[in-house]
Assembly symmetry: C2
Homo-oligomer: 427 residues x 2
C-alpha cells in the first residue's frame, strides 16, 4: 500500500512559498529584537520531562505533552514551551553571564491539542526575555518590543491593543480584599480570563457562583469595567502594584506606544507569572482574541539550584500572528529567490559552465534547465516556477559572449553581454 | 531537589556565541545553494513511523529511531533523516511542481546513538536535492554544490577529497562478474565501506571469508586500488556506469572541481541510492574520515503512490563540518550583534527613550543598562558581554545632544552628536 502524502495531523509542511513567508516574518522579528540588543540562543527540542512538571500549567503537563521514554529509559518530552529550557541554560551559567541578559529564540514547540483555526499541534514561537532587572524598565522594554514588532509588520493603530495587568493586584484583590479560599481564587482567575469571550449574563451567573457573594461580584465588575488606573476603586488605587502600573503606562506613552491600557481580565495561563502581565489582542471582529502575551516571573532559574533571577519575557506564536497579518492584509507578495533560469539551447551544458559560474559569483541566483524538452516548454516551466528572467545560452551565444535575456513577466527581450545581464537583473 | 542544568544527553544548548557561529555556517550554506537556484522548504519534525520503515537503513529503524505513540495512538517518530519527508512533499504535489525542482532544507535530525566525537543524538543537516533530471548534469551539479560549500568556507585544496563511485558498477562487479549471493553481496558492500578504516591484513582476511575465493579477492583489490577510471580492469572499463563516471569527471574538471576522484570503496549506508554516489573526506591525519555524502536515488517519491521522480541529493551535517572547520582553523572570530550599550547616568531612563529609539531606527543594535550599579561596574559588564562601544547618557548629554562614546576595546573616548554616533559605530 502506498504511504500517505499528508503531514502528521496538526503539523505543517513548508513548501518554498510557505518557507519564504516564514523567513520574511522571522527576519522582521529578528531585526526588531536585535535592535534592542537581544541575542539569539537555542536549546534541544527534547528535554527531561522533569523540567515541565514543576511550573508549566497543569493542562500542558497532563494532556498536551509529547512525552515518552527514550531507548535508555529516560523520561523525556518534546518542548511545549521554551521558558523551562532557557531558565535551565541561564542557571547553568548563572555566575558567568553578564546582566542585564537579553536573549531571544524562535523554537518550534509541540502540544497535543485538537487542531483548529489558529491552534495547531506545533508552532514557532518568538521568545524574548530580559534577565536580571528588578525595576519596571524591563517590563517597559519587553512591552515596547512587542509593540515594535506589531509596527514593523505595519499593523495600523487600532488594529491591536496591548492589555496590561498585575498579578500582584489580582492577588491583593482576591486574596486580601475578598479573602477568597485558594480554590475560589483559582476558579476566579480562570473565570476572568473568559471575560472577553463569554456573554455578560453567563459571566454574571458563573461569577456569583464562584464568589458566592453579590457584593463581591459588584466589586469585580467595577474592576473589569475600569477604563484606566484612575478609575479604580479607592481601596485599590493606592496599592503598590497600581503605582508600578502607572509608571509603566507613562514610560510606554513616552516611547510612543499608544495601544496599551489597563485590563483586569488579563491573567495569562502559565502558573509562573507573578507581577506585571500583558496580552496583545487582535481588535478585528473576525478574530477578536488574544494573539500573544507575557510578563514577569521570578522562580524558574531558581528551580535549577541557583539564586533566582528576575525575568520579564513574552512568547509570540507564528500561527496566530500569521492569521492577524492575513486578516489585515499585511503580508507582502514575495518574489522567488531564483533570479533567472539559464535555458540551454543545444548540447552546451559543459561549455556553459564558465558563464554559469561567472553569473553566480557576481551574486545572482541562477538555475539551469538542461533537459531536452522543447524551448517553449522550458520557458513555460520557468514562468510556472515563478522565476522572472530566462537567459538563453547556445553555441552562438557562447561564441559571441552576448546572451538573450527574456523578462518572463513582461515578455521583453534584450541581447546583452554577461556583465550587463548582472546589472539588468540587478541584485 | 533541584533540577539538572544539563541538556538531554547527546544534545546541544546553543548559547549566543554558539548560535552566532551556527548562523554564520548556515548563512554560508544558504548563499551557495541559493546561487544554484535552490529554494528552502521544511517539514514537521514528527512523521508517521511508516515512512521510515520502507527505505531507511535497518540500523536506523531498529536501533536509532526516536519513535513513540502519540496520545491518539498514532505511531510516530522524530525525523532521523529528511529524505522520506521531502519525498512525501514532492509526491503530494507531483503534478503541480515545476521540474527540474531544486530544494534545500537545514533540519534538526535525531538518532539514538552512543554520543561520541562528531556524533551526537541530534544534528542539523543541510539537505540539497534536485528532482526530475535523468542525465548526469544533475549529479554534476550536486557534487559541484558540495565542492562550492567547502570552498565558501575557504577549505584549502588538498584538505578534502570528493570520492565518487557508482552503485551500478558495484552491482555489476559483485553480482554479474563475481556472481555473489545476495547475502555475500550485502556483506561485501559492508566490508568495502571499511576499506579506509581498517588495516589491510584485517581487510584481506575478512574479504577472503566473505568472497570465499582468492581470485575474487584479487579482483576486488585491483578495483579498490585503481587510481582512476582508465586503470580499471578491462571487463569493467567499458561498462555503461564507467562511461557515466567518465562524463561526470570531465564536467567536474570543466567547472573547476579539482578534489574529485573515483573510489570503489564508497558505498553510502542508506538502502535507497541506486546510481552515482559520493562522499567528501577530510584528509587531515587527525580526522581522516567521511564528512558527508549523497547520490542518486529513484524510488522514494514513488513509495507515496505516484510516478517516481529521479533525484540526486546530499546531506551535510553541522557537527562533522564544524570539526573540520575547527581543525583547519577556518572558523572566523565573530563579533557580538550588539553594537553598543547605552549606560544611563542618573535617573534618565524615561528621558533617554527618544535617543534610544533614534539610534535603533538608524539601524544600530542598542542595549541599555539602567541598573543602579556603579559606572565602573556597568562598563566592565558591557565589556564582559563582548560589546564594542558604550554610550553615556545623562541629563547633561540629553540637554546638549552630545554623547560620550567609549570604545571598550581600545579605551578611546570621543564626544559626538547622535547622528555622528551612528556613522562612528558604523553599520
Amino acid at each position: 500500500m502506498a504511504l500517505s502524502t499528508q503531514p502528521y495531523k496538526g503539523a505543517r509542511d513548508f513548501y518554498p512559498e510557505d518557507k519564504r513567508l516564514q523567513k520574511h516574518i522571522f527576519d522582521q522579528m529578528r531585526e526588531v529584537v536585535e535592535s534592542f540588543g537581544y541575542q539569539e540562543y537555542d536549546a534541544p527540542l527534547i528535554e527531561p520531562v522533569d523540567i515541565y512538571l514543576a511550573k508549566s500549567g497543569e493542562e500542558i503537563v497532563n494532556d498536551q505533552l509529547y512525552s515518552f521514554e527514550d531507548k535508555g529509559g529516560r523520561k523525556v518530552a518534546i518542548r511545549p514551551e521554551m521558558t523551562p529550557s532557557v531558565s535551565r541554560m541561564v542557571a547553568a551559567r548563572r555566575q558567568e553571564l553578564a546582566y542585564p541578559l537579553r536573549w531571544y529564540s524562535i523554537p518550534n514547540l509541540w502540544r497535543y491539542e485538537r487542531p483548529q483555526r489558529g491552534r495547531l499541534r506545533e508552532h514557532y514561537q518568538l521568545n524574548v526575555d530580559i534577565f536580571g532587572v528588578n525595576d519596571i524598565s524591563a517590563d517597559h522594554e519587553i512591552i515596547l518590543i512587542a509593540d515594535s514588532i506589531m509596527r514593523v509588520f505595519k499593523a495600523p493603530t487600532g488594529s491591536y491593543t496591548i492589555r496590561i495587568n498585575s498579578r500582584k493586584l489580582v492577588d491583593f484583590f482576591f486574596q486580601d480584599q475578598l479573602k477568597l479560599s485558594d480554590e475560589q481564587f483559582h476558579e476566579a482567575t480562570k473565570l476572568i480570563d473568559r471575560w472577553h469571550k463569554i456573554d455578560k449574563a453567563d459571566f454574571e451567573a458563573q461569577a456569583k457562583e464562584v464568589l458566592s457573594s453579590d457584593s463581591h461580584y459588584q466589586k469585580l465588575l467595577e474592576l473589569l469595567d475600569s477604563k484606566g488606573l484612575d478609575e479604580l476603586p479607592t481601596g485599590l488605587k493606592s496599592h503598590a502594584s497600581v503605582e508600578e502600573l502607572r509608571k509603566l503606562m507613562s514610560l510606554l506613552k513616552e516611547s510612543g506606544v499608544d495601544s496599551a491600557g489597563f485590563d483586569f481580565s488579563v491573567i495569562r495561563g502559565m502558573d509562573y507569572y507573578d507581577d506585571i502581565i500583558f496580552e496583545v489582542f487582535d481588535t478585528s471582529p473576525e478574530n477578536n482574541r488574544s494573539m500573544f502575551g507575557g510578563g514577569r516571573y521570578g522562580g524558574l532559574v531558581g528551580d535549577f539550584g541557583v539564586e533566582p533571577v528576575p525575568t520579564v519575557g513574552f512568547g509570540m506564536g507564528d500561527v496566530t500572528l500569521q492569521i492577524f497579518l492575513e486578516l489585515h492584509k499585511l503580508l507582502p507578495a514575495l518574489e522567488s529567490e531564483v533570479d533567472a533560469t539559464v535555458i540551454l539551447v543545444g548540447d552546451v551544458y559543459e561549455a556553459a559552465q564558465k558563464v554559469l559560474t561567472e553569473l553566480r559569483q557576481k551574486g545572482l541566483n541562477i538555475s539551469v534547465d538542461g533537459t531536452d524538452r522543447k524551448l517553449d516548454a522550458k520557458i513555460k516551466n520557468a514562468a510556472k516556477a515563478g522565476v522572472k528572467y530566462a537567459i538563453f545560452v547556445g553555441e552562438q551565444e557562447l561564441k559571441t559572449g552576448k546572451f538573450k535575456l527574456k523578462n518572463l513577466q513582461s515578455g521583453d527581450e534584450r541581447e546583452l553581454p554577461s556583465n550587463d545581464l548582472v546589472t539588468e537583473i540587478g541584485r
